[in-house]
């Protein structure tokens, strides 16, 4: 334990080292550490925010999907209704057409039959006159006996 001038040298060395450390070592390293801490904190906050955003977006997407499904269902519904209506209308129209065609066919048939009847009557009248002529062996004056003929035709 001998104290000598070494203590002075050590004190000077100590002071110089501390001052150097205070000026050139501590501040830059501390600044770097603090800057990095800030960066990390920002990054963590950003990732938190991103996670929240993602959650929100997912919720939104789910809701939109639901809405779209509902919309699609309603569109399909409407389309089905429309289809049924079209089919119904077409069926109605077809029915009407059918009836119309049937009616006109009936009418035509009726006219045709009437016309054939008439023709037939007249030919029967001619045949009757020709028969009568044969029976009487003389001609019958159509003009004179038209009243008889008309009566005959009416009776057919």
């Amino acid at each position: 334990m001998n104290i000598n001038a070494t203590i002075i040298g050590q004190l000077i060395a100590f002071v110089v080292f501390v001052i150097f450390c205070m000026k050139f070592v501590w501040p830059p390293i501390m600044a770097a550490i603090e800057a990095r801490q800030a960066t990390i904190a920002d990054g963590l906050a950003a990732s938190d925010r991103a996670a929240k955003d993602l959650e929100l977006a997912q919720e939104k997407a789910t809701a939109q999907l639901k809405e779209a499904k509902v919309q699609a269902a309603s569109i399909v519904d409407a389309a089905k209704k429309h289809e049924a209506k079209i089919i119904e209308e077409a069926a109605g129209k077809a029915q009407a057409e059918k009836e119309k065609i049937l009616a006109s066919g009936h009418a035509e048939i009726e006219t045709e039959r009437n016309r054939a009847k008439e023709e037939l009557r007249q030919q029967v009248a001619i045949l009757a006159v020709a028969g009568a002529e044969k029976i009487l062996e003389r001609s019958i004056d159509a003009a004179v006996h038209s009243d008889i003929l008309d009566k005959l035709i009416a009776e057919l």
Binding site: N4, G9, Q10, V18, P28, I29
Partner: protein
């Protein structure tokens, strides 16, 4: 080991130990200089500062390298210790604590250098006989160094006490407590002065005593001959605790004393 044996052949173990506990000194009386203490402490201080300075210069705020990580770990450890004890604003205490911790740690770590290795290497290079070579490579076993460190801390204690409380406030603190009555002021003053002076004294003697004793045991072990191998290993392993612990205690007490100096009673 062979070196130790060779030394033993020419010296008794008492002389051997005394030889190893003698500094390499130049000068006379008070004006003599312990060259080994000064040289090793300044060298280790420069090692500390150059490593930390190189990191400080290239410190990146992005992804740090391995050296920067290690340095930042030390700095954060010191910073946490300071922030846990000292709550004021002071740009000196943290760098001071860092310097004390790393420097004392490095100086204590010189304890692990085998006691005869350096004299043997010097004698190998210079050709001088080992019994004429004086080399005490652990600077913290020199009271000059521990007193210088504690003296620096003591100066800062006084400086901040006066800066924070003023000369009057500081003086008042010395005589007005622990007893409040004016008649007991002289006793207060004696007690407080003792307290004040005991701090640096205890600080320096604790570090010196621990390391000096450790070194002494290393020297005793070195006189054992071949048996020193396992014993030396155990003692060196035990110093894994002693070396960082003493550095930490010195740093921690410095912080505590300086934070006490900042407190107004």
């Amino acid at each position: 080991m062979s070196a130790a044996a060779a030394t033993q052949a020419t010296l008794t173990s008492q002389e051997y130990i005394k030889h190893h506990l003698t500094n390499l000194t130049v000068g006379e009386g008070f004006w003599s200089w312990n060259l080994d203490t000064l040289g090793w402490s300044v060298f280790l201080g420069l090692v500390f500062l150059s490593i930390f300075r190189s990191v400080a210069k290239s410190a990146t705020t992005g992804v740090p390298g391995k050296l920067q990580c290690a340095v930042e770990m030390v700095i954060e450890f010191v910073d946490d210790s300071v922030k846990g004890t000292f709550h004021g604003k002071n740009a000196v205490i943290a760098p001071l604590a860092l310097t004390i911790f790393v420097w004392v740690l490095l100086m204590n770590a010189m304890d692990w250098v085998p006691v005869d290795l350096l004299p043997w290497l010097i004698s190998l290079v210079s050709g001088i006989e080992m019994s004429h070579i004086y080399m005490k490579p652990v600077p913290t076993t020199d009271p000059n160094l521990t007193f210088a460190l504690a003296g620096g801390v003591f100066f800062l204690i006084i400086y901040y006490s006066i800066k924070v409380k003023g000369v009057g406030g500081f003086m008042k603190e010395l005589y007005s407590q622990p007893f409040g009555h004016w008649s007991l002021y002289p006793i207060n003053f004696i007690l407080e002065i003792v307290t004040l002076l005991a701090r640096p004294l205890a600080l320096s003697l604790r570090l010196f005593g621990n390391l000096y004793a450790g070194e002494l045991i290393f020297l005793l072990i070195a006189t054992l001959g071949l048996y020193q191998l396992p014993v030396h290993f155990i003692w060196a392993a035990f110093h894994l605790l002693v070396i960082p612990l003493q550095a930490f205690i010195f740093m921690m007490l410095t912080i505590v004393y300086l934070s006490l100096a900042h407190e107004d009673h």
